[in-house]
């Protein structure tokens, strides 16, 4: 496909890894960037339309499915959709009870469920052949169109930062500002002369969490997407030989990464709740 359009492989890959970005051009007008250079010039005040469209759209798919199931939910014999949703909810609850325990918290359940299903749906888009939707979008005059929102670090970091805020909130709420502050300086070396060192360590540790949390998901999906793109560079008759095994393997990855993102969220929130001794 790359050669048929007169593009180099590098251009093809570049095209597939570029988001549809809306922002302000250097000349002051607003619009959709037509090249990576223009996107770079837009800086921070720009928005990736494709990421937003797909993530919000899939978020509504998630909500639609689960609200439909919850609306018609019955304690009697459940239907197929209700079964599916209940299996998911039960899976999330099991994981929470194993890691978080049985502390009363109305937020962690819905939070984990949202993360699991939403991230899974966004990852799932990775299994759609890499050229289908971007090519259709190109025919419609849209320059770039990435369909896997989780291959955009903005999406994954947006979520991990959200979790980070929650961790801070619970640290303050459960431990209180004083104990939380004390915890920052007295670990891991409980001696007053090393408090400054402890503080640096704890801050780095704390900031590393949302970063690694978001980038882990991004990295896995980005790499997977990249391999699909590389496979798509092969002649069309040979692609299936590699893309099929990779897609099958990727089914595991997309579920696993959604699960890992959820589990890490639960673990971080559990740490924020732990007032105990250590």
């Amino acid at each position: 496909m790359a050669s048929s359009e007169g593009l180099t492989s590098q251009d093809y890959i570049q095209h597939h890894l570029t988001n549809l970005t809306y922002g302000q051009f250097p000349d002051g007008t607003w619009g959709i960037a037509q090249s990576p250079e223009e996107i770079a010039a837009m800086g921070f005040y720009a928005i990736n339309l494709d990421t937003m469209i797909w993530s919000v759209g899939l978020g509504f798919v998630f909500l639609g499915l689960f609200i439909a199931a919850a609306r018609s939910a019955t304690a009697g014999v459940p239907g197929t959709l209700q079964n599916l949703c209940e299996i998911t909810v039960d899976f999330v609850e099991t994981n929470i009870s194993q890691v978080f325990g049985s502390r009363p918290n109305a937020l962690i359940g819905p939070l984990s469920l949202t993360i699991l299903v939403w991230v899974f749906l966004m990852n799932l888009m990775d299994l759609i052949p890499v050229d289908f939707i971007p090519h259709a979008a190109a025919l419609a005059g849209v320059p770039y169109f990435k369909i896997v929102a989780t291959t955009d670090p903005n999406a994954t970091l947006g979520m991990s930062v959200g979790v980070f805020f929650l961790v801070l909130y619970y640290n303050f709420k459960i431990k209180g500002p004083l104990k939380f502050g004390a915890g920052l300086v007295t670990h891991p070396i409980p001696h007053w002369s090393m408090y400054w060192f402890n503080f640096i360590l704890e801050i780095v540790d704390m900031l590393a969490k949302p970063l690694s949390h978001g980038l882990r998901l991004f990295g896995n999906l980005y790499a997977g997407e990249m391999i699909f793109i590389l496979i798509a560079l092969l002649p069309f008759y040979a692609q299936w030989a590699l893309s099929l095994p990779w897609a099958i393997f990727h089914i595991l990855i997309i579920g696993l990464q959604a699960f890992v993102f959820m589990i890490l969220t639960i673990v971080y929130l559990t740490q924020a709740h732990e007032t105990g001794e250590h």
Partner: protein, 156 residues
């Protein structure tokens, strides 16, 4: 791969989805699941109870049956012994009746005998005289032998 406002947009979308999930998805689904768990556990409990009741009912039914059988056996035995008793009584009665009839007959016979004897006694003198007359071919004086004849009839 640039970090831009998308991150903020994603964060806002994330918060909203979590809030929607918290409001409309999680509570009803978990509640339904709890209710079903409760229903199922109650059902199982009831089933166990029903099984126990069934067992008790079976036990009591077999007990009743046993008792009824025993009672029936007793009744039969009683009836049998009663029948035997009745038969024995009847036999006894029949024997007594027979004895009474026999006794009556014997009395009649005895009376008949004594009456015949009486009659014979009254007529023995005549007969003896008649016999003696025949033997002796002579007339015997009645009055002369009266005393001897009455002695004879006394002996008879």
């Amino acid at each position: 791969m640039n970090i831009n406002l998308t991150m903020l947009g994603q964060l806002i979308a994330f918060v909203m989805f979590v809030m929607f999930c918290m409001r409309y998805v999680w509570p009803p689904l978990t509640e339904v699941m709890r209710n079903r768990q409760k229903t199922i556990s109650e059902g199982l409990e009831n089933a166990a109870k029903a099984e126990q009741q069934l067992q008790q009912a079976n036990e009591s039914a077999s007990n009743e049956l046993e008792a009824a059988k025993r009672e029936a056996g007793e009744l039969i035995a009683q009836a049998r012994s009663r029948a035997n008793q009745i038969i024995d009584e009847a036999k006894e009665q029949a024997k007594e009746e027979a004895q009474r009839i026999i006794d009556g007959a014997q009395d009649d016979i005895d009376q008949e005998i004594s009456r015949a004897r009486e009659a014979l006694r009254e007529r023995v003198g005549e007969l003896a005289i008649e016999g003696a007359e025949k033997i002796l071919a002579t007339s015997v004086d009645r009055s002369a032998h009266e005393a001897m004849l009455s002695k004879l009839s006394q002996a008879l």
